[in-house]
């Protein structure tokens, strides 16, 4: 508890440090004689810290807060939980805080992401507003999983929504598109908050108090429980970026500053999953099977839809944003399956599915933190996020390239990446469901397995594209040509996240025991996974040894070239020009771009994606056969947005313009609206009474 309190305190301290007055950096100081005003002014100037010093101190304090929070979370997972009630902090009910293993898991993840993001942020020279708000955002992220009452939970949630909105808006002066993104984000996150508020208040109304302990024993009718689950699910799904509520996600991530996107993607979207698990499995103690069907279906839909759009995206951060939707979809498949099995009475399988889901949360946080940091570095170095205009960063930004490669390997769920382990666990739990769960399970689970398999395949293509097109080959744009390696702190931040990825990839057995505590809290069914080097499933036959796989792969990578070198005939090497079909020297314009790489996939999924393309041919005036210019434009629009949101928005705009006729500028008319309304209400009152 002390650790956690210290973490919150350090967050506030970091925010205060960022508020201190600053002076211009020493480089800008005139080198000549000191200006008139003399020694006193000079002393005051010397006492005021520079922007750089403030950034370093603020970042270091935030990182320390993150580290403390991570330790506090891990301690809570290992059974050193605590609870506190601060009755005077908020009116009506006070603040209830508690850190149990489940909350501890999410606190630890948030803490870890914070450390990386804060270190990364030191070098990027963030604006003052960002420096102040980031620690507050971290504090809100720590508050949500530690809340033990509806009041504290909603307070933390709203604080998280507000601070993240400010961070999304931070660069609105530099890029006008940020404003629109922030508007989308504000609307979606606050609609989500409203539904969560309604659901939790309805739940609290049926209990004797707002503490989670009291909510767990509340006696509610099944209809009320259904309403509560569905409303809160809508809000949490919006936060986790689940289709069809994902529209804010690919907009907000590109809009946020470089070191904020990792926090949002690695820590904030997890809170949606936390909410579903906490409310659905813990507070409402599971529910009918159809709840979890909905969760599972939403998860499968998001995974497929997210990865398809990620595979099509050409904006690096947009790609990562859609990939977040995909990964949260996978997590929800696991959560849905866990709820489904628990409702069916298959406790051990449920525990396995939930373990897989939570492990994937941890893994996703690790590799997405790494990837978003790298994307931020790339954007800072090249000034663009467009993969079509990047390329050739391997020689210019070698560290960032290597670290991005690790992240891409992990995100594509291939061994020896960490995403592979959790997806393997998830597949195991789904495959072994067949005998246990009747007809419904026999139909649902194979479909879910298929969805995960397709998702994994497309994820490989997506990250091959992101890495190969974005970092390898020759630069295709002026920004990429001028790129230089990112500042040292940014590399440290990325390296830390990459180390976490590798640790999780090679030693999941060290993490899983702590994770099991969080699982047994909601599904008490013993340990689903054991083993030290080899991961063994306890209830079903299955085992995997990530470290041995990694060793075997490394061995193969050494052995195969050696073998080829030994067997192949040794010809004399000759340097010659690359054969270019006689079309002149190969230029960067002939490389694979992100669009062309995704084109075959786009053709395969043309019905699902419905891409738009237009070819404008401008002919010479004299003859239609002589073409002056051909312009090709292609776009993959978000279908959900087009079908679901645009009609609603258009209707709202129509309503607004229609309502304008009510306001013609006459004061008397405005007054008479009030008068008629008042008398109308009075007449109705008189008639009723």
């Amino acid at each position: 508890m002390t650790l956690y309190a210290w973490a919150l305190g350090l967050c506030l301290a970091a925010a205060l440090v960022a508020l201190l007055p600053t002076r211009a950096p020493a480089v800008l100081r005139p080198t000549g004689a000191p200006a008139a005003g003399g020694a006193v002014a000079e002393r005051v100037r010397a006492a005021t810290p520079t922007v750089g010093a403030i950034t370093v101190v603020g970042g270091a304090v935030t990182a320390a807060a993150g580290a403390l929070a991570a330790v506090a979370g891990v301690r809570a997972m290992l059974g050193h939980g605590w609870s506190a009630w601060l009755p005077d902090l908020l009116p009506l009910g006070g603040v209830r805080l508690a850190l149990d293993p489940l909350g501890g898991l999410f606190t630890a993840v948030t803490g870890g992401v914070t450390v990386c993001a804060a270190i990364h942020g030191i070098g990027s020279g963030p604006a003052r507003a960002t420096r102040v708000v980031v620690p507050l955002f971290v504090a809100a992220l720590l508050l949500v999983p530690a809340a033990d009452g509806v009041g504290a939970f909603l307070f933390g949630w709203e604080l998280m929504a507000m601070t993240s909105l400010l961070l999304v808006l931070a660069e609105h002066r530099e890029r006008p598109s940020v404003r629109k993104a922030a508007l989308w984000y504000a609307v979606m996150t606050h609609l989500g908050l409203v539904t969560i508020l309604c659901g939790l208040c309805y739940l609290a109304a049926g209990a004797v108090g707002d503490g989670f302990d009291q909510l767990r024993v509340a006696e509610l009718s099944p209809a009320a429980r259904n309403v509560i689950f569905l409303t809160t699910l809508a809000g949490f799904a919006a936060k986790a970026g689940i289709v069809p509520l994902h529209v804010w996600l690919p907009r907000a991530y590109p809009a946020a500053p470089g070191h904020v996107s990792p926090l949002m993607s690695g820590a904030m979207v997890n809170m949606g999953v936390y909410g579903v698990v906490r409310v659905g499995l813990d507070l409402l103690r599971g529910g009918p099977v159809w709840w979890w069907w909905i969760v599972l279906a939403l998860g499968a839909l998001s995974a497929l839809y997210g990865v398809l759009h990620a595979a099509m995206a050409t904006d690096l951060k947009r790609l990562l944003g859609y990939s977040s939707t995909e990964n949260m979809g996978l997590v929800l498949i696991g959560v849905g399956a866990a709820g489904f099995f628990a409702a069916d009475g298959a406790g051990p399988l449920a525990a396995l599915a939930l373990t897989a889901a939570l492990l994937h949360v941890v893994n996703h946080a690790a590799f997405k933190t790494l990837l978003f940091q790298a994307a931020g570095s790339v954007q800072r170095a090249t000034g663009t996020r467009d993969l079509d205009a990047l390329g050739g960063l391997r020689t210019r930004m070698p560290y960032t390239t290597a670290l991005f490669a690790i992240g891409a390997l992990c995100a594509s769920a291939l061994p020896p990446g960490n995403g592979f382990v959790s997806e393997w666990l998830l597949l195991q739990s789904l495959i072994h469901a067949l005998p246990a769960s009747g007809v419904a399970g026999a139909v649902t689970m194979p479909l879910a397995v298929g969805a995960i398999a397709l998702t994994a395949g497309l994820a490989v293509a997506t990250f091959v594209k992101a890495f190969g097109v974005g970092f390898l080959a020759r630069p295709r744009g002026p920004g990429a040509e001028r790129a230089a390696e990112s500042p040292r702190t940014a590399i440290y931040g990325m390296a830390l996240a990459a180390a976490a990825c590798l640790f999780l990839a090679l030693n999941p057995t060290l993490v899983l025991p702590a994770l099991t505590e969080a699982v047994t809290e909601v599904i008490p069914a013993g340990r689903p996974v054991t083993g030290e080097v080899t991961l063994r499933l306890t209830t079903i036959t299955g085992s995997i040894s990530p470290i041995l796989i990694a060793l075997a792969l490394a061995g193969a990578m050494v052995a195969v070239p050696a073998l080829v070198g030994a067997v192949a005939t040794r010809r004399v090497r000759r340097a010659a020009r690359l054969w270019d079909c006689g079309a002149g020297p190969v230029s960067a314009r002939m490389e694979y771009t992100a669009t062309s790489f995704a084109e075959p996939l786009q053709r395969v999924f043309v019905d699902a994606l419905q891409p738009e393309s237009a070819i404008d041919v401008t002919a010479v005036k004299e003859s239609a056969y002589l073409v002056r210019r051909v312009r090709f434009r292609a776009r993959v629009p978000d279908r959900v947005e087009r079908r679901l949101y645009e009609p609603v928005l258009a209707a709202a705009v129509r309503l607004g313009t229609g309502a304008r006729r009510l306001a013609d500028g006459s004061v008397h008319r405005y007054l008479s609206y009030g008068f008629y309304a008042l008398t109308g209400v009075l007449i109705v009152l008189a008639v009723i009474s």
């Binding site: 304008r660 306001a663 013609d664 500028g665 006459s666 004061v667 008397h668 007054l671 008479s672 009030g674 008068f675 008042l678 008398t679 009075l682 007449i683 009152l685 008189a686 009474s689």
Partner: protein, 219 residues
């Protein structure tokens, strides 16, 4: 003060309060409207003072005198100054004719009586039985705002509503705290001063104070 005398003076004050309110709708001469408003101020002050005398509450009595001074002397004085500064002396043709307005007032009175029955039933004292009158004047004031065109009539309509709210407050309770009443009165004074400035500006800019001329600045 004996009970019958209290009831009679209270009813007299309330009657005067209602009558002056309704007559504002009848007259189109702005000077007369200001006179009627001043009379209503007197009635309101008397109403509060009578209640104060009956309850033997010195503070309430003094408050009644203060309210009477503000609404019967100070506010009419300010309005007369605005009128003397060049306002046309007569109300332009209102949106609803005078005869129709008086009929509407009858309907509004009936609504007010019907609506306030539950309130009266809560504690049927002579004072609460007069609550419908306050509600009627409130609706009449709102009606003046809706139908009259001159800026000064708008001010009077607004002040009628405020008078009615004050009357309702003193009829249903044994007096609001002095601080609250002081605050409300100051607010009213400020609003009238602001409107006076606005009227002068409007006249300087447009040569008249007919609100229907001001339609350009809408969204």
């Amino acid at each position: 003060m004996t009970d019958p005398l209290y009831v009679q003076t209270l009813d007299l004050a309330c009657g005067a309060f209602l009558l002056t309110g309704v007559l504002v709708l009848w007259r189109r001469d702005l000077a007369a409207i200001i006179w009627l408003f001043a009379l209503q101020g007197v009635a309101l002050g008397a109403l509060i003072a009578v209640r104060g005398l009956h309850e033997a509450d010195v503070e309430l009595t003094v408050l009644g005198l203060g309210v009477g001074l503000l609404r019967a002397v100070l506010l009419p004085y300010l309005m007369r100054r605005a009128l003397a500064a060049g306002e046309e002396g007569r109300e332009a043709r209102p949106h609803v004719s005078v005869a129709a307005s008086l009929l509407v007032t009858a309907v509004l009175t009936m609504i007010a009586y019907a609506v306030s029955q539950p309130l009266v039933r809560l504690a049927p004292t002579p004072a609460t039985q007069a609550v419908p009158i306050a509600l009627t004047v409130l609706l009449v004031g709102f009606f003046v705002l809706v139908t009259r065109r001159r800026a000064l009539s708008q001010v009077v309509g607004f002040l009628l509503m405020d008078n009615a709210i004050t009357a309702a407050a003193f009829l249903t309770t044994t007096g609001v705290p002095l601080v609250v009443e002081l605050g409300v009165s100051l607010d009213v004074l400020l609003a009238v001063l602001a409107l006076q400035v606005l009227t002068t500006r409007m006249r300087a800019a447009f040569g008249g104070t007919d609100l229907d001329e001001l339609r350009e600045l809408h969204d």
